[in-house]
Structures are given as structure tokens and as C-alpha cells.
């Protein structure tokens, strides 16, 4: 869990327009953002990298409106998540979220060995996550791929931590159910 005082100082510096602070923020968070987007893009590294850049572009524009309801990390998770879905929306205007995301080129562009290493479970898991309803999907993505603390997610939605954990549990139950279905 990030040090709150340090984060506040960082945020203050950012809002004061301190470029150095922005670089620190990037250093601290870009690997997490990239990892999260990698999961969403199913290992398409190049796309994930592009979307990571896009995430920060959006972050700089949105920074003055940052309300401090969550940590900067969780806030970036949300932006990255939106960036990914905006991207897929542009490519497949007509279909719904799930089809759009699933229609992304899977691993074709990748080294075949890489594809073998990444086992099939990951792909199925990703499909299952993308098929979750919107509210649960972001929670799962942020919590497990973006390592966002429950406390932050609760504040972001303005509900209790218990409610968030309950939703997460509901999401996991759904994932388990849909994975079971795919298996049989």
C-alpha cells in the first residue's frame, strides 16, 4: 500500500505543475499500467504499450480534475481500463463490449514460443473477465491486474469495503461458473 503522506506530497507537486513529480509518478506506476493493459490486450505487447502511452496522455489532461477519491494508482487503472475499451470500440463500432474485446487479434502477432508458454487458461480467464458485467469487470481488472487496494475501490464507488469485497466475490463466483462451462 503506498505511503499516503508521500502520495499526497506527490499529488500536491503534480498539481503545482512539477514536471519532476510527473516523472516520478510515471516511474512508479507505468509497469503496473502496462501489466494491466497486457492482460486486457491478451499479451499484445505493442498495443498494450501504445495504450499505456495513451493512458498517461489522458491522465495529464484529466489531472486538474482528479478529486483524490482514490490513490493515483487506482485512478490510472480506471483511465487505462477506459482507454482499452475506447480503443476496441473504435475498431468495432457496432458490436458490444464483449465481442469487441474478444475480437482483438489474439496472439497471431506474437512469437509462437511465447504463445505456447502463455497457457490456454490465461486466455480463457481473460475472456471470462471480459464477459463480466461492466461494474464487476472493472473491479476484477483493477483489483487483480492493477493491484488496486479494496479501500480505494470502495472510495471510488462511494460504498463500503465490505460491499466491494462482496462484489468481488460475486465476480469470482461468476468467473468460476463461466470457466466451468467452458471446460465442460
Amino acid at each position: 500500500m503506498p505511503d499516503t503522506a508521500a502520495e499526497e506530497r506527490l499529488l500536491a507537486a503534480l498539481l503545482a505543475g512539477d514536471r519532476q513529480a510527473a516523472e516520478t509518478l510515471v516511474d512508479r506506476t507505468y509497469a503496473m499500467v502496462f501489466r494491466l493493459l497486457c492482460q486486457l490486450c491478451q499479451g499484445d505487447d505493442a498495443l498494450a504499450a501504445d495504450l499505456t502511452q495513451e493512458t498517461y496522455r489522458r491522465a495529464w489532461t484529466a489531472l486538474p480534475h482528479f478529486e483524490g477519491r482514490s490513490s493515483l494508482g487506482t485512478w490510472l487503472c480506471r483511465i487505462a481500463y477506459n482507454a482499452f475499451f475506447d480503443h476496441t470500440r473504435r475498431r468495432h463500432e457496432e458490436s458490444d463490449d464483449f465481442d469487441r474485446a474478444a475480437a482483438l487479434p489474439a496472439n497471431d502477432a506474437l512469437d509462437p514460443v511465447d504463445g505456447l508458454i502463455r497457457d490456454e487458461t490465461t486466455a480463457r480467464l481473460r475472456r471470462a473477465v471480459l464477459a463480466l458485467p461492466e461494474d464487476l469487470r472493472f473491479l476484477v481488472v483493477a483489483r487483480f491486474w492493477g493491484d488496486a487496494p479494496v479501500r480505494d475501490l470502495a472510495r471510488l464507488d462511494g460504498v463500503s469495503q465490505v460491499a466491494i469485497r462482496k462484489r468481488l466475490r460475486r465476480a469470482l463466483a461468476r468467473l468460476a461458473a463461466s470457466l466451468g462451462e467452458q471446460r465442460s
Binding site: A12, G17, V26, Y56, W60, V159, I164, R165, R169
Partner: protein, 665 residues
């Protein structure tokens, strides 16, 4: 065991999902795009409200420096002023303000009164009921004392007995309704109706006998009612599910371990042992404690049965609950030797939960989280039966009274349970979980119209989502006037039993001074039940309790202390002699922007649970305004109280808070 993994495995899978390292130049690429004028004034917040939305100690102060100096000066001053003078309105401001209008303590008992069916024809009751209050009362009466009135919760008394409603076959739930005369009034127009909801049994008939050894953390971190109470509630329920071939053993540990209950099959012995268990106030788990606990648990096991060790812990982040290495090694060893190990976190804070999950994965065991009584019961029932116990989710009950037949009604008990609407809110939009083998009984006292014009008295409705399905189904059961008997002789034995139990509870609650005659009448009526239920041990026990009440002395803290303070930890709300929580520090809620734009104003009514440390650690919404609830809750959560005192000790207390949101023009 896969079936009750409850997501632990999946979580690990999700976390394990690998990702390649970011490209080496990515950070540089991102940094090259940082705009030269980060957070430039042109991008300043359009809403002055932002500055006020946050206490000054956090972000707003720094934010404002960057934004307009003028706004800052104004807003900081206004913010400081409104914080320092929270009771006084911030006159002349253009933005809306939220103000805490009043707070009233909930102290003692507030019975629910009669409701006019013409005004509100639909009622509801919660499905999460445990017999804790009845068991507590038994402990007091055994010590020759009447229980403190606030410890008596009628709905828990009513649900302490089985009324012989058979479990349904071939369907999920059976709804029942019946009626008879009211034990509370001589008036023939007053009647008592009993509704029952019984779910099908999901205990597989051919399962192996099970031995469960509970290793229960009773250190300070388990904090009385909040966590240990949850463990007990779930174990009371488990006691009813035991078969003659099952065994249960209890081991408690804090700084040291001891056997609370050697392996037994007797549900009464289990409930008795649960009373004796109280947090001992010592520090959290040490290596010797857990280690001994597990070794004792090991001895309980029988060959050829299904053996499980269940670690029950919880704790708050401020307590260092570190699991020692020798303990881990032992659990791992046991799980290899055919003994299943499970870890359950009872209302574990996120930090502690992570730790318990790590413990579970390190020992190849499963982790489950229990945040509510229903969850705790479900987890333990699944541990016993080895089968998933949930038969549905999002369940809610409603009773629709026909105003043509019923002029007024009153629900017995449930004074302290949050309203179903509030539960719905706090569960994040879902209702209760429907467990297999459950029987929930609820009583209403009704007053019939002088000339009923229709036949339907009321309709009991249950709405739930069957397990594994996405659609919600609704079951209903109509109660006809012909099913509501007018005399005791015509009423069914189950109704007489329920009526007697309710009468006992309400007499205890209304007669703290112990007027012998009131209890005498109750006792005489209860005695009649022995004819109907000659073979039922629990009914005989109830009649004996009713007899004991007639002779018991009134409750007083001194008498309770002299009697060894029977079962105080099981009392869910602090009682009579003591002080209520006193507000020390309060924070203004922020007016949510969306609500302000939508011109939504009004009063949100909250009930807050104040911990013995003075923190608000549970908030339920009594009266909801969806757009305003989150702001009210998050403000109240930060309040500080001087905790409620009972017999000089800080205990859990409750306060009701009205948060008023007003729009100013």
C-alpha cells in the same frame, strides 16, 4: 476441498496471470509526452465545490495553490469556517451545504408498533436470524437472573425452536402460513399469524461422517460480538445440523491454547461450550498457541471419517496477527496426512485477509471470508456436509396484507435488525443468501376488520435467484381467513408453540422487574405445550426456562457480576446500566456534485455502530436517498465517539444519525 474453495484458487490464478516486462523505452516515451504546462490554469477545475469537498488536511489545500489564488483564499477560509462552526449555516454561499441536523441514541428497546394496513400494506422481515438472544437468556436464567431487557430479541427467540415444518421435496422452498388467537390481547379481533419459509435439505444423505475440529482465535483482536459473536452464531447453527455420526471439537487459542470441548456429538454440549468462550483480552496468536491447538485437534480425529481442521480468525489491522512458522509447518503436514485444513476470516480487515489468504495458500488449504452471519453459517455448513449449501441468492421476503381484512398489523421482533431496504443497500444491491436446510419463522400480530369483505388475509412472497441461474423467481403463498383459527383449541400445536415463545420473549422484555404473575401466566400456557410435544427435549427445556423466569431475580450489573456474568459476549447490544456513545469529533459530509446538479436534497437517516474504540465501524441506511447516501456514510464513518459503557467497560453501541442535505439558493 474444491467445493468450498470460494474463489481462493481463482484469485491466485488471476494474480498469477503472467505479463511480459514492459518495453525498455516505454517509460521514456511516456515522459516525453508530459505537457510542458502540467495542470495549467486553463484546465483548472470548473467546480469550486472541489475545494470544499475535501478536508483541508488532504488534497484541496495543495490543489488550490495551483489553481487560482483568489479562489483558494476564499475557499480555504470558507472551508475552515464551515469546519470550525459546523452547526452554523454557511450563509451567503452559492453552493449547497450539507449539515448534520440531529442525532439520537438508540438505547434500550423500541418495540415496533402497529401499522395500518390501509396505509402500508406491505411488510418485510430479514432472513438472517440466529438464536443468539435465546441462548443468552438461557444462560442468565440458569444463573437465577432475568436477562437485561435489551438482550431479548423476540425474533431470535421465535427462531430458536423448530416448528415441525417439513422440508420441501422437489422444489427449493416451501412457504407456509397459519394463524390463531393472539396471546397478547383478549380481544377476539386480534390474531397471531405465523409465516414459515423452509428450504430444501442439501445435506447429502450418503455423506461420510465428519469430524470437525475448530481452532478458534479468542485473542483481543477477535473483539467480542463483532467477530467472535459471528463464529458463535455460525456454530449454533452448525449444532442443529449435526447427525448422530458427526463429531465436533473446539479448541480456543490466544496466547495459549486449551480444549474448550472434547470431540462430541451432543449439540447441547456444543452450545454450552460456546457460552464459556469469551475473548480473553490477551494478545494475538503466538506460536505455542496455534501449535498446541493443532496438536489437540489432531487427537480428535477418527479413521474412516472426513476430518477437517478449521481455523477461525479475524482481527483488525492494528493487531499484529502473525502466524508462526511451526504452525504453518504443522498445518502443511496435516493436510498431507489426509486432514483437510480450512481457514476462515471473520470480518477480517483487508490487510488481515490478505495475510490469512497467504496462510491458506502456503498450507495448501482453502480460505473463506465470512462478513455476515449468513455467510458464516453457510461456510460452516458446507464444511460439515461437504456440499454447496447455497440454493439461491438475492433473496427477499415480503408480506402483503389485505386491507379489506386486516386493519392493523405488527411484526414481532426485528427491532434491531436493519430494514431489508438497508440490508439491500449495504449488500451492494443484493438480498440475502438462501441456504439449504434453513427454516425461518416470523410472527405478526394482526387486527381483523370488523366485517372482512374478502377471504385473503395476506400473501407471503419470496423473491430469489436460484443458484446457477440468472433470472429471479418469485414464490407466493396466500393465507386465507379460514386458516386463521379463532380459539386456542382450534389452533395448531405449532402456532401455540410459536405464540408461547413470542409471549415469553415479550414478557421478559417488558418486565425487567420480574413480576411473578406475568411469568406465571406465561409458564402455565407453556406447560400446556408438553402435551402436544411430549417427545421434544427443546420444548421441555423452553417450558423449564419459562418456569425459571417466574422465580428469577431482576437483572442488575452487580447481580450479573456475582453470578459470573453469564454470557455477556453474546449480548449483541449494550444494555440498561451504562452510558451511550458520546460524539467527540464530527466531519461535515460533502454535498455530492451530481445531487446538487440534480437538485436532490433531503435527510438521510443512518444507524451507526460505534466500536469499543470509539470508531464508527458499521453504518446502515435507515432512510435512503440514493444520490446522497454515499456522502453521508463516508462522513459519518470518520466520526469519533467516546464509546458506550456497560458496567464500566467500553462496549459496542449504536446511534441514529440524521444527515440533512439542503440546497440553498
Amino acid at each position: 476441498m474444491k467445493l468450498w474453495t470460494r474463489g481462493g484458487e481463482l484469485k491466485r490464478m488471476l494474480r498469477r496471470a503472467t505479463a511480459p516486462a514492459p518495453p525498455p523505452d516505454l517509460a521514456q516515451r511516456i515522459k516525453s509526452e508530459i505537457p510542458p504546462l502540467l495542470a495549467r490554469p486553463g484546465l483548472a477545475p470548473r467546480r469550486a465545490g472541489l475545494v470544499l469537498n475535501w478536508p483541508l488536511s488532504r488534497y484541496s489545500f495543495a490543489a488550490s495553490i495551483a489553481v487560482h489564488a483568489a479562489v483558494v483564499a476564499l475557499a480555504v477560509a470558507a472551508g475552515w469556517w464551515s469546519r470550525a462552526h459546523w452547526t452554523r449555516p454557511t450563509a451567503g454561499r452559492a453552493w449547497a451545504r450539507a449539515e448534520v441536523a440531529a442525532w439520537t441514541p438508540v438505547w434500550g428497546v423500541h418495540p415496533m408498533g402497529f401499522v395500518s394496513a390501509a396505509e402500508v400494506h406491505r411488510s418485510s422481515f430479514g432472513l438472517d436470524v440466529a438464536p443468539t438472544s435465546y441462548e443468552t437468556t438461557r444462560a442468565y436464567l440458569k444463573a437465577g437472573l432475568l436477562p437485561p431487557p435489551a438482550a431479548v430479541q423476540t425474533e431470535e427467540f421465535i427462531n430458536a425452536l423448530d416448528y415441525g415444518d417439513p422440508a420441501p421435496r422437489g422444489q427449493d422452498v416451501a412457504l407456509r402460513g397459519e394463524g390463531g388467537p393472539s396471546p397478547f390481547a383478549e380481544d377476539p379481533g386480534r390474531r397471531l399469524v405465523r409465516f414459515n419459509l423452509r428450504t430444501r435439505n442439501v445435506d447429502p444423505p450418503d455423506r461420510r461422517p465428519t469430524t470437525l475440529a475448530f481452532v478458534i482465535d479468542v485473542s483481543r483482536a477477535m473483539g467480542g460480538e463483532r467477530r467472535l459473536g459471528l463464529v458463535k452464531t455460525a456454530l449454533f447453527d452448525l449444532a442443529r445440523r449435526l447427525r448422530p455420526t458427526d463429531q465436533v471439537a473446539l479448541v480456543s487459542f490466544s496466547s495459549q491454547a486449551r480444549v474448550v470441548l472434547p470431540p462430541t456429538n451432543d449439540p447441547a454440549a456444543l452450545t454450552a461450550a460456546l457460552y464459556a468462550m469469551a475473548p480473553d483480552g490477551s494478545s494475538s496468536a503466538t506460536s505455542s498457541g496455534l501449535d498446541l491447538g493443532l496438536r489437540l485437534a489432531e487427537r480428535c480425529f477418527r479413521i474412516g471419517t472426513c476430518n477437517k481442521v478449521i481455523l477461525c480468525s479475524g482481527g483488525a489491522a492494528e493487531h499484529d496477527l502473525s502466524w508462526p512458522r511451526p504452525g504453518l509447518a504443522r498445518i502443511a503436514e496435516q493436510s498431507r496426512g489426509g486432514v483437510e485444513v480450512a481457514t476462515i476470516g471473520f470480518r477480517a480487515d483487508p490487510g488481515v485477509e490478505e495475510m490469512l489468504e497467504r496462510l491458506a495458500s502456503a498450507t495448501n488449504s482453502t480460505y473463506s471470508a465470512a462478513d455476515t452471519g449468513a455467510e458464516a453459517r453457510q461456510i460452516l455448513a458446507e464444511a460439515l456436509t461437504g456440499a454447496p449449501q447455497s440454493i439461491g441468492a438475492d433473496a427477499s421476503v415480503d408480506v402483503d396484507f389485505n386491507p379489506q381484512v386486516v386493519s392493523r398489523y405488527r411484526l414481532l421482533g426485528y427491532e434491531r435488525q436493519p430494514t431489508p431496504e438497508a440490508l439491500f443497500q449495504s449488500a451492494g444491491g443484493g438480498g440475502a443468501e438462501l441456504l439449504g436446510g434453513a427454516s425461518i419463522t416470523s410472527l405478526y400480530e394482526i387486527e381483523l376488520q370488523v366485517h372482512p369483505t374478502e377471504d385473503r388475509v395476506a400473501t407471503l412472497g419470496l423473491r430469489y435467484r436460484p443458484a446457477g441461474r440468472l433470472t429471479v423467481v418469485r414464490e407466493t403463498r396466500e393465507l386465507r381467513i379460514s386458516e386463521v383459527a379463532s380459539t386456542w383449541d382450534a389452533a395448531s400445536p405449532s402456532l401455540r408453540l410459536a405464540a408461547s415463545m413470542a409471549e415469553f420473549a415479550e414478557t421478559l422484555r417488558d418486565n425487567p422487574e420480574g413480576r411473578g404473575d406475568a411469568f406465571g401466566a406465561t409458564f402455565r400456557r407453556a406447560q400446556g405445550l408438553l402435551r402436544d410435544y411430549p417427545e421434544r427435549k427443546d420444548v421441555a427445556d423452553f417450558v423449564a426456562l419459562a418456569g425459571a423466569a417466574a422465580q428469577a431475580r431482576p437483572y442488575s450489573p452487580e447481580a450479573a457480576a456475582a453470578a459470573g456474568r453469564p454470557g455477556p459476549e453474546a449480548v449483541s447490544v449494550s444494555v440498561g446500566e451504562g452510558s451511550e456513545p458520546v460524539l467527540l469529533r464530527k466531519f461535515e459530509p460533502a454535498y455530492p456534485d451530481a445531487a446538487r446538479r440534480a437538485q436532490v436534497a433531503g435527510t438521510v437517516l443512518l444507524r451507526a455502530q460505534v466500536s469499543p474504540h470509539g470508531d464508527v465501524d458499521g453504518v446502515t441506511v435507515l432512510k435512503s436517498i440514493p444520490l446522497l447516501d454515499p456522502a453521508a456514510i463516508s462522513a459519518v464513518r470518520r466520526w469519533k465517539y467516546q464509546p458506550a459503557l456497560l458496567e464500566g467497560r467500553p462496549v459496542v453501541g449504536y446511534v441514529t444519525i440524521a444527515v440533512r442535505f439542503q440546497l440553498e439558493d
